[in-house]
């Protein structure tokens, strides 16, 4: 799945700042462009876009979501095997390397694209997702 920025783009730069792999380029007030080679299909750009200018490859335009309600990962130390796969595979590189007895953490939850990849690579079901606002409250 890849995404494309439509010509209605206002050039606000929100997508550019959230893209975990820096696949988006463009200056302020200008049409932004996604490099399909590097797009990982997480859809963060589409969810963050205020002007609904990002469409997926089927032409669907996901609705805008406030970042407060984005799901971010939480790591359960009781289930974690400390193998470090989530740390190695995180496209944004914001997960800390786990050490024995200490589960990984997010270095900056604001940069999480909510791609759920850490959840997919964890075979020990140690990753659960909850809204960012809830995580902050915790």
């Amino acid at each position: 799945m890849t995404y494309e920025i439509l010509t209605t783009c206002t050039g606000c730069g929100m997508c550019l700042s959230i893209c975990p792999v820096k696949a988006i380029s463009g200056g302020p007030g200008r049409l932004h462009v996604i490099d399909a080679d590097y797009c990982i299909g997480c859809g963060a750009c589409a969810r963050v876009c205020n002007s609904s200018s990002v469409a997926d490859q089927d032409g669907n335009i996901p609705t805008h979501e406030s970042k407060r309600f984005w799901m971010i990962p939480h790591f359960d130390a009781a289930k974690c095997s400390f193998c470090g796969k989530c740390y190695e595979m995180c496209p944004a590189g914001i997960i800390t390397r786990p050490v024995a007895g200490k589960a990984p953490e997010l270095t900056n939850s604001k940069l999480c694209a909510s791609c759920h990849w850490c959840e997919k690579v964890c075979v020990f079901d140690a990753v659960t997702f909850s809204p960012a606002s809830q995580g902050a409250a915790q």
Binding site: D37, S81, K85, M89, G93, V99, V123, F124
Partner: protein, 621 residues
């Protein structure tokens, strides 16, 4: 070899075989790289191949036969006509544990027969993200190049400036990271050292000389940029949850998995000494009390429990030091350690890193160093200086580099053990199987492993290695192991799950093996893994389907190897070095002679049955 005849034969075989246990593949296209004219194109893999051979080694072997050039046997041009096939797992990105297996098939430049490398890394996952189920590399590049595969296409970047670069240097240049992976060779591959390997994500992709073939084809590095987080599971969530719960229960109660998680695959080192399959001092001895220093408990004490593993695998057999340095697996520990008389783990870790950095296979390198020690100690052969100390890494590490770069005393050693044995007209210390250095086992303690290796299949971890209880009916176990491993791997599942989910779940295993061993073989069925595959793929897969797929894969390899001049049932009489089945000297109290001939007879009988069963015409409904 008449490749046209082989293709005809395989087509007839495909029509005769019945496809059962089919998985609907998400990607049905293969990316073909034609190196001769630096082009690429998409090739739709016929449904017949995907139905019969699913993925993994079976599909890789079938595609190899499809793309092999007519004059693959011609030494002068064989590298161009010898395709490299890389297949992803049918269950890649499905979320199923241990299902990110990548299979690589090619004609080994060392043994001359079809060779398989199985490894777990993100290559398959990335190929699937790009929409491909296989990568087919044909032809030969005119100049050394780095091949860059992305969604937008393939680029060939000339890399003559990077000649001589080590693996870590080339990886930092091509930008390996979460978005990109690379399969690279070091100086050893460039210099066509026969036991050169390809390194991917800090591990060797396997044995058989794939690095040498990359060198012949002028591929310095194969980079794949692809990542797709939007994959959705095809199976039913309820079934997946149920199957995963049962699987987790088995894994958490498995002593084998606990042992691996505690101390990595080095836990098998201690076992190798106990059961007499450790190669010590160039296979002259089978056990040594100093193996304790390389075993799991000692590793845990010295380096802690910092563990890791392959993507999606719950076994976590890859350990790290607290500084994040990877501790080698038991194969490399034995060959770079005990086989050359070194029992210091720090030194072995450095040697292992050196081998991988220069693109050498650690197992074969250990074998050739063992040969060098034994040959020079007799005073017959003078390659190294008389006071060369194999305990001293200040001497061994430069020697490894010299082997890879083919300079100084490393040059003669770089030709491999078999060539040296022939050159010096003394093969007594050269332990090879069809020209390829023996695996990290003294076969006098691992009988069924000897059969598998002599067939050129090179699966590590036969039952007797991982499960010490299983030490009977060796040919029967070898056949079962082959079918299980090839069946599971062809579905894309790692064979490391065989012990915890099959062997360990048989009740009263020890007693059964003692009194009714044949019943154990009948009971050793991958039921749990079949239900896991069914749940995650959404297709109904039975354990019989897995075994049948393994047998189909074996038959395919058998037919291809006949065309390559090796009959797996008839040309095996003198394949195993005499040392293992004639030399009675051993320092272990168990049987010291491999009953090779009787095992081969039994193996041939069982495999002829497989062929006969596959020849039965399917019943018309």
């Amino acid at each position: 070899m008449n490749i046209a005849l082989l293709k005809e034969k395989l087509e007839a075989l495909d029509n005769k075989l019945t496809a059962e246990g089919i998985i609907d593949r998400r990607s049905k296209t293969a990316l073909v790289l034609d190196l001769s004219d630096e082009t690429f194109y998409d090739w739709l893999v016929p449904d017949k191949y995907l139905d019969l051979y699913i993925s993994g080694p079976a599909l890789a072997a079938r595609l190899w036969a499809e793309f092999a050039g007519a004059d693959v046997e011609d030494k002068s041009s064989y590298e161009a006509n010898n395709p490299i096939i890389i297949t992803s797992s049918a269950l890649s990105n499905s979320g199923m544990p241990s299902s990110e297996l990548v299979s690589i098939a090619f004609r080994s430049p060392v043994s001359g027969i079809l060779c398989f490398n199985e490894c777990t890394n993100t290559v398959g996952m990335r190929l699937e993200a790009l929409g491909y189920c296989a990568l087919i590399i044909t032809g030969r590049l005119r100049r050394p190049a780095v091949i860059d595969i992305k969604k937008s296409g393939v680029t060939y970047n000339v890399s003559e400036l990077f000649i001589g670069y080590t693996v870590s240097q080339i990886e930092s240049l091509v930008g390996v990271g979460p978005m990109t992976t690379a399969m690279s060779i070091g100086p050893a591959g460039e210099q066509k050292v026969p036991f050169a390997t390809v390194v991917c994500e800090g591990s060797s992709t396997g044995r058989g000389g794939l690095g040498c073939l990359f060198g012949y084809k002028n591929i310095k590095s194969l980079c794949i940029t692809g990542f797709d987080t939007s994959f959705e599971r095809t199976g039913c969530d309820e079934d997946i949850k149920k199957a995963k719960e049962a699987f987790d229960k088995v894994i958490s109660s498995s002593e084998y998995c606990r042992m691996m998680q505690r101390s990595g695959s080095s836990c098998l080192v201690k076992r190798s000494g106990k059961y007499g399959w450790a190669p010590v001092n160039n296979f002259s001895r089978r056990t040594d009390p100093r193996l304790f220093h390389l075993g799991g408990d000692e590793i845990r004490r010295r380096y802690g429990e910092e563990h890791g593993g392959c993507i999606g695998c719950p076994i976590l057999c890859r350990h790290r030091t607290t500084d994040g340095i990877v501790i080698p697996g038991y194969e490399a520990i034995l060959m770079l350690g005990s086989n050359i008389g070194c029992f210091d783990m720090d030194k072995i870790i450095e040697r292992y890193a050196q081998c991988l950095n220069f693109g050498l296979d650690p197992v074969s390198t250990g074998n050739i160093l063992g040969w060098a020690i034994q040959a020079s100690s007799g005073g017959k052969i003078v390659i190294l200086e008389p006071d060369f100390n194999f305990q001293d890494n200040a001497k061994v590490l430069p020697l490894i580099e010299m082997i890879a770069r083919r300079t100084g005393p490393g040059e003669p050693l770089s030709f491999g053990t078999y060539a040296l044995g022939q050159a010096f007209k003394d093969s007594s210390y050269a332990y090879t199987i069809r020209g390829l250095e023996c695996g990290p086992y003294d076969y006098r303690g691992a009988f069924s492993q000897s059969i598998t290796d002599c067939m050129g299949l090179w699966f590590s971890n036969c039952f007797e290695i991982n499960s010490p209880v299983v030490r009977r009916d060796h040919a029967d176990w070898a056949v079962l192991n082959e079918s299980l491993v090839m069946g599971l791997e062809s579905y894309g599942v790692s064979a490391n799950l065989v012990v915890p989910t099959i062997v360990d779940t048989i009740k009263h295993l020890e007693k059964r093996l003692k009194y009714i061993p044949k019943s154990v073989i009948k009971r050793a069925k991958p039921k749990m893994l079949a239900s896991m595959i069914s749940a995650y793929s959404g297709s109904e897969i039975l354990s019989e389907h897995i075994i049948a797929l393994g047998d189909r894969c074996w038959r395919l390899i058998y037919e291809i190897n006949i065309a390559l001049g090796f009959n797996m049932l008839e040309d095996t009489a003198e394949v195993l070095p005499e040392h293992f089945y004639i030399d009675p000297e051993s320092n272990h109290n168990e049987k010291s002679i491999v009953p090779y001939r009787s095992m081969i007879e039994r193996y041939s009988f069982l495999r002829k049955n497989t062929i006969a069963l596959q020849s039965v015409e399917p019943k018309a409904n």
